[in-house]
């Protein structure tokens, strides 16, 4: 078959691109290929499916009629095994050939599997797809004990879901604190306290070196020799770009598929976005893989416009995260700890409220808000648009910080008054 637009991947990036393409081009043939047999679903919500709070239908990212209404050919359960760049042809596992004019790689990430002995045993799962949680769900019985390897967002999200299903949960984090890439010490501690209070066990500063048992598992062994009895292990170390299609082609790969500010790869008419890609992060001033949902959607949207012939630059790509577990609300973006002396850190704390902003040369390069999170968006916007804040930096974290705290020209522009 032939298609004007071929999108490989059916998650945030792929859908973002498809929606942008359809805003500009109602007619050009558009095909989305997914190796999963379900319509687009919200990956962050797989934990809500496992916890029993949501059905599959209720975690769908778009209504079921989305593809039909937008004249999209959706090939679900179809696996592309190889790309032939020269002839612009994708080869599918079942022998199907798809010829494209514009191609988007939105293949996402794949779970990192560390070299721990025993991970091939029954009862060991990853936690990044609906398939993963459906398999976990099937294996759940009463009175189980789980060990979660990794205390990042995936591990914490898995912990909460299993905990809600009555599983006894222990999280093992290698570094000295949970959620260490998206939170600072203070907020990591807040989160950890909330987990412990709820009844989740947290072990930091240690790694699992072996998962033992005969056929099915019976315990996890830590680097200090301690053992944790368990019959379920979730590997939640993180994700790496899913590079299998881009490898061994002319497409340039560093850690991820390298894209420019227009989400274009080094090959003409081939674009990439989301967890598979590596794009410029202004906060770090380097290309980075940022596997978070909003960035995937925005990258996909920009890629889609460019594929449809509307030249569009990717606005800014730095990480942003938000979490709401066991009653604590925390958001963060950019840097969460100061990398050195050229950075200025301002913090404010009162009861359950904590706010922190990291500045460099009068620009915001990172922020964390906990408890009172509503004003964080204004700071994120100032960071994204590189607005100098030196003049009013002392107001950034105050209770009544708002648009009126900004120079008049800025708020007048924003509010179009």
């Amino acid at each position: 078959m032939r298609t004007r637009y071929l999108i490989i991947g059916n998650s945030a990036g792929g859908i973002g691109a498809a929606e942008a393409i359809r805003e500009k081009d109602r007619k050009g043939s558009l095909t989305i290929v997914s190796d999963e047999a379900v319509p687009a679903y919200s990956k962050p919500l797989i934990s809500k499916y496992l916890s029993g709070e949501r059905t599959i239908e209720n975690i769908l990212y778009r209504p079921a009629e989305f593809y039909e209404r937008n004249n999209i050919t959706f090939l679900s359960g179809e696996k592309i095994t190889r790309l032939e760049i020269g002839s612009k042809t994708a080869h599918c596992e079942d022998g199907k050939l798809i010829q494209w004019e514009k191609l988007l790689l939105a293949t996402g990430g794949k779970p990192i599997i560390p070299g721990i002995k025993g991970l091939d045993k029954e009862g060991v799962f990853t936690f990044t797809s609906l398939g993963d949680v459906m398999a976990i769900n099937k294996s759940l019985t009463r009175g189980q004990k789980a060990v979660i390897i990794g205390g990042g967002l995936i591990g914490v999200s898995a912990s909460e879901a299993l905990f809600k299903r009555g599983v006894d949960v222990t999280v093992v984090e290698m570094k000295d604190r949970v959620l260490n890439t998206i939170l600072d010490e203070h907020t990591s501690f807040l989160a950890e306290k909330a987990f412990r209070k709820a009844g989740i066990k947290v072990i930091t500063g240690h790694t699992v070196v072996e998962v033992s048992g005969d056929d099915s598992i019976t315990e996890a062994i830590l680097d200090d020799g301690a053992t944790i009895p368990c019959d379920l292990v979730i590997v939640a170390i993180g994700v790496l770009p899913q590079l299998v299609l881009a490898s061994n082609t002319e497409i340039k790969i560093n850690r991820g598929v390298v894209v420019d500010r227009y989400m274009s790869t080094t090959c003409l008419n081939i674009y990439a976005c989301g967890d598979v890609s590596e794009s410029y992060d202004p906060v770090y001033d380097e290309n980075r893989v940022i596997p978070v949902w909003p960035n995937a959607y925005m990258g996909g949207r920009v890629a889609g416009f460019n594929m449809a012939g509307v030249r569009t630059e990717y606005p800014a790509s730095t990480s942003l995260n938000s979490l709401n577990y066991f009653g604590i609300d925390i958001v963060s973006a950019g840097l969460v700890t100061s990398p050195g002396e050229d950075y200025e850190v301002i913090t404010r704390q009162e009861n359950d409220m904590y706010k922190k902003v990291i500045l460099k040369n009068g620009l915001i390069s990172g922020l964390i808000f906990a408890g009172a999170i509503e004003q964080s968006g204004i700071l994120f916007d100032l960071m994204k648009n590189k607005v100098p804040v030196e003049e009013f930096k002392q107001a950034l974290l105050s209770d009544d910080f708002g648009l009126a705290s900004l120079p008049q020209k800025l708020w007048k522009e924003k509010l179009q008054t």
């Binding site: 500009k24 949501r54 989305f66 949902w293 925005m298 609300d329 509503e374 008054t417």
Partner: protein
């Protein structure tokens, strides 16, 4: 061919705002369960939350509400698909049943105007008062510091 639609827009006129807060009061009542001012403020649990904020700095004051952006970052960052542009009104609206309260939209909003509901279960925002011809904040502003204007906007061609 782009298609255009008329859209309700609330215009902020800071020169007339005296920071009286009535927009907040009537927004709260309009979005309460009982729509009764006494019950809304004193009895309802969880307490209803206003979707408008008033700000002041020296002698300047104004109300801030959702701008129903043409490029809504809250919609693009939404993890669930709950936040979306309504095809008929072109307003940015949230499906409160679909929202899980992850707050990604809150950090994405350049106006800082999205808020958690009283129970912190889902996000709440200005819906332009779909049951009223004139939104409650505009209707009850004593000074025309908030006025309703009709704006022409391009309709998004993607059908969600």
């Amino acid at each position: 061919m782009p298609v255009y639609t008329e859209m309700k827009k609330i215009q902020i006129n800071e020169d007339f705002c005296v920071n009286c807060g009535l927009c907040k009061v009537y927004c709260t009542v309009e979005h309460s369960q009982t729509k009764d001012i006494i019950k809304a403020f004193k009895r309802e649990n969880p307490a209803p939350v206003p979707r408008v904020r008033t700000e002041s700095n020296g002698d300047i004051s104004f109300a801030v509400l959702c701008q129903h952006c043409a490029e809504p970052w809250c919609v693009y960052s939404c993890l669930t698909g709950a936040m979306h542009k309504d095809l008929e009104s072109n307003a940015v609206v949230v499906d409160e049943d679909k929202c899980v309260g992850c707050w990604t939209c809150i950090i994405s909003c350049p106006y800082g105007i999205l808020t958690r509901d009283g129970d912190h279960r889902h996000v709440v925002k200005c819906d332009l008062c779909p049951d009223r011809e004139i939104p409650a904040c505009v209707d009850n502003c004593p000074n025309e510091a908030l006025t309703l204007v009709m704006d022409i906007e391009e309709v998004c061609q993607t059908v969600i």
